[in-house]
């Protein structure tokens, strides 16, 4: 139900763009006003969200991460999984952000049987999620980078090189981008996982399905533009350059699929700060990843402690309640006679 609802939402967006830019001829609104607004919402929303998170007090460091922590000299420390210094933590963050190390450790529970046919609960490695997640994310990154050919003039060499490398297989005309295929594979897997894994399906909400369908819609509309509609790329560059240099021209002669693509991307940008997609910024603020395990080296001052509340030791507590505790027969460090 959640999936169908999300799909209907995305299809509604497609219909809005098709009717708005196609039938109602509101190309200027769909080419400039909506993408511009969405981009501002994205930047401001993203920044506010991060600032909001930065206001939250940092908790006590969470030392329950994998790997041997720093201990006695003769016990080798796992420096990347359980760092105790800044540079080691940077290394853990780099591995997390660039290589999805936590996801690589993903396991699943299986029921196995030993020789005597006794059941054994086992945890086995499950790398599929990691593989398709990394394919998806890096493809998305490369796709975003090579779109810069429409945003920059002259096109920098790096962008040309990325575009050339991505289309190096020279299959079909225009040539197929490797990342298009990989992105669709990745999104397809991430969707299929939510459909066919009962446990994941049970916890999947609209805000899990919606971004996936939206990204799928963006990818498919892009593929449609390039390989089927064969849109006028130079006309599109004209519009996009108008948008980034604030020289707005009335767009003409561009296939409606471009406006659908652009409207879906705008929806993604505007939706981004309010969604789970904020893990883009949030991953840098993960408490189990970005804090070194040095709780035995540095004293932690709890940031929300009230300075007016003074420490109250057990000794002082016993002083307060010695007589009633003695009367109730509770064990005491000092008997009333000793304290007197």
């Amino acid at each position: 139900m959640n999936a169908i609802f999300s799909l209907i939402l995305v299809l509604a967006l497609v219909v809005v763009a098709t009717l708005g830019a196609g039938a109602a001829k509101m190309q200027t609104i769909f080419a400039y006003c909506i993408p511009g607004t969405a981009f501002v919402i994205f930047l401001v929303g993203f920044t506010c969200k991060i600032i909001g998170w930065a206001k939250r007090p940092v908790p006590f460091r969470i030392p329950t991460t994998g790997g041997q922590q720093q201990s006695l000299d003769w016990i080798p420390q796992n420096k990347w999984d359980n760092p105790s210094t800044g540079p080691q933590t940077v290394m853990r963050m780099l591995l997390e952000v660039l290589a999805f190390r936590s996801l690589f450790r993903n396991t699943k529970v299986v029921l196995k049987h030993d020789d005597g046919k006794n059941p054994i609960v086992a945890y086995v490695s499950a790398k599929w999620l990691w593989l398709f997640a990394i394919l998806f994310h890096y493809s998305f990154l490369i796709i975003a980078v090579r779109h810069m050919r429409l945003f920059l003039q002259p096109v920098p060499f790096v962008i040309q090189a990325v575009d050339f490398g991505d289309s190096i297989l020279q299959i079909l005309t225009p040539t197929i981008y490797i990342t298009d295929v990989l992105l669709l594979t990745g999104v397809g897997f991430l969707l299929a996982r939510r459909f066919f894994d009962a446990k994941v399906r049970y916890i999947s909400l609209v805000n899990d399905y919606f971004p996936l369908f939206l990204i799928l819609g963006i990818a498919l509309s892009g593929v449609y533009m390039r390989y089927i509609a064969k849109v006028d790329v130079m006309g599109i560059k004209d519009v996009v350059m108008g948008l980034v240099t604030f020289n707005f021209k009335v767009p003409a002669g561009i296939d409606v699929s471009f406006y659908v693509h652009l409207f879906l991307v705008s929806s993604l940008l505007a939706y981004f700060p309010f969604s789970k997609l904020m893990h883009m910024g949030g991953v840098f603020l993960s408490p189990t990843r970005n804090m070194p395990n040095d709780t035995r080296i540095h004293h932690h001052e709890n940031p929300w402690n009230n300075p007016a509340v003074k420490p109250h030791s057990y000794e002082a507590y016993e002083d307060d309640f010695r007589a009633p505790m003695h009367e109730a027969g509770l064990p005491l460090d000092k008997s009333p006679e000793e304290a007197a």
Binding site: F42, L43, F46, T47, I50, I51, W53, A54, K55, R56, P57, V58, R146, M148, R149, L150, F151, L152, Q153, P154, V155, I159, Q160, D163, F164, Q170, T173, P174, K230, V231, D232, V233, M234, G235, K237, D238, M241, G242, V244, T245, N247, G253, G281, F284, L285, P303
Partner: protein, 129 residues
């Protein structure tokens, strides 16, 4: 307003904004973009198909021509008006569009497209730039 680890987080935000606003900064101060002006043939007013068709689908046509002429041995193209042309990049296309630098490259450079026509075809001498 108290930020925890504010220095690091603000640095990260500045990097984030910098990356996403880079296209604006890159184009700032440059003249408004307009599509490149192509050098059109002087003695011929009509291409083999309509302007709109050629604008968006010329690569498809060239690809079909290559397959037809090299793989199937068909060398005659009949256009939508029933007129016949020889399927040949150098004899037909480049008869009018003589200058690659003044015609093909103009848009291809702006769109960062590197067609592989010239892996096999030789660009006419004297017109290289």
């Amino acid at each position: 307003m108290k930020l925890y680890n504010g220095g690091k987080i603000i640095t990260g935000l500045v990097i984030f904004l910098g990356i996403f606003l880079a296209p604006l900064a890159y184009n700032a101060g440059k003249a408004a973009y307009s599509q490149p002006k192509l050098k059109m043939p002087e003695n011929e007013k009509e291409c083999i198909e309509s302007k709109e068709f050629m604008r968006t689908k010329h690569m498809q046509l060239l690809n079909d021509w290559r397959d037809a002429s090299l793989r199937d041995g068909t060398r005659v193209y009949v256009n939508s008006k029933g007129k016949e042309f020889e399927m040949s990049l150098q004899k037909t296309c480049m008869k009018c569009h003589t200058n690659k630098a003044e015609f093909c490259d103009k848009c291809h450079n702006d769109a960062a497209v590197v067609p592989y026509c010239w892996d096999c075809h030789i660009q006419p001498e004297g017109l290289k730039k």
